[in-house]
Symmetry: C2
DNA sequence: GCAGCCTAGTTGATGGCTCAATCATTCCGC
DNA sequence: GCGGAATGATTGAGCCATCAACTAGGCTGC
């Protein structure tokens, strides 16, 4: 599953010098992180999808809108908050419009812009899904972790974000 | 982005009692974990895909095969190791066959079973991709973390896995 | 006031993933 | 050994994400 799996540094010339292979301990840490992240994300998405019909990606859109005054956001701002590309968001909002949970509205200040607005039906759908989601997060994350581990999770996450959010 | 976003416990009756909403600190820890996991996974996949033409999912298949004596595995065993459904793996192996990196072979002991076998071309493709992948993992993960954080990452991952791997 | 560039957002083609249905083979009880 | 259940794997339909191309509106300098 990982870069160094087939062993010791080999002798191929690399554009950027010798690869910095992982040692056995790093390997274990990396795989534990990778597997756990994949499994938890997958599990949260599946439980939410199967019990409410809303995928985690769509849920994030509804939440982002609900947290905003007026329950509306510019498409690009919404995309950023959902870690989504604009194209992906545009498609997703179209599907949410079909369900009647979001509607589009042209932006008054900028004729190019669009506002995505959460409808009352959308808010209700979100309210119905939220307890399911929080229960999954509790079950697969917080219930498994000591307070120290929760703190470590936050520290780790924030450290990684500091690097990646900067682009 | 999260379950408790729209605030305090409300009064809707829930099948399983009052939702166990996250408090502000839990909220921060949860979002830090979620965003960082999504961003890191996304980044690793994009860098690998763009620089080598192999997605992370396909890369995992090649690695799993390469680590095995004879460089072959039963389809279902391979699926388990890649955290993949059988259907997904079957589709993926078909694509890898088209590239000439894997071939299928009926299993001698069980006529229903199939073996996925890594070809020499497949092994070469993996060797070419591995340095790119390990560099991404270093850049976005290990280079950002102290030894204590790496240890915490491993501890956290293993704890979550213990719960999820058990199903 | 318009030419050229930039920004916001959408669209459609392509490929991957999920789910349910299906096929082939093996296992099991008798 | 034979009928039925279980197992291993594949298939196809439908949905979602990605990428590149495109539309439309705004901005800037002259």
């Amino acid at each position: 599953m990982t870069a160094v799996a087939h062993g010791a540094p080999n002798d191929r010339a690399r554009p950027a010098g010798e690869p910095r292979w992982l040692d056995a301990e790093e390997q274990k840490a990396w795989r534990a992180w990778l597997y756990s992240a994949q499994l938890v994300l997958d599990r949260l998405d599946r439980e939410l999808t199967h019990e409410t019909g809303i995928s985690h990606a769509y849920y994030e859109i509804l939440v982002a809108l609900s947290e905003t005054p007026g329950r509306m956001l510019r498409m690009s701002e919404l995309a950023d908050r959902c870690l989504s590309s604009r194209s992906r968001l545009s498609h997703a909002v179209s599907r949410l419009e079909e369900r009647g949970w979001v509607r589009r509205q042209v932006c008054a200040e900028d004729g190019r812009g669009q506002l995505a607005v959460l409808t009352d039906d959308g808010f209700e759908a979100l309210e119905a899904a939220a307890p399911v989601h929080v229960e999954s997060v509790r079950t697969h994350l917080f219930d498994q972790l000591s307070p120290e581990q929760v703190e470590a999770m936050r520290d780790l996450g924030e450290t990684l974000l500091r690097h990646l959010a900067a682009r």
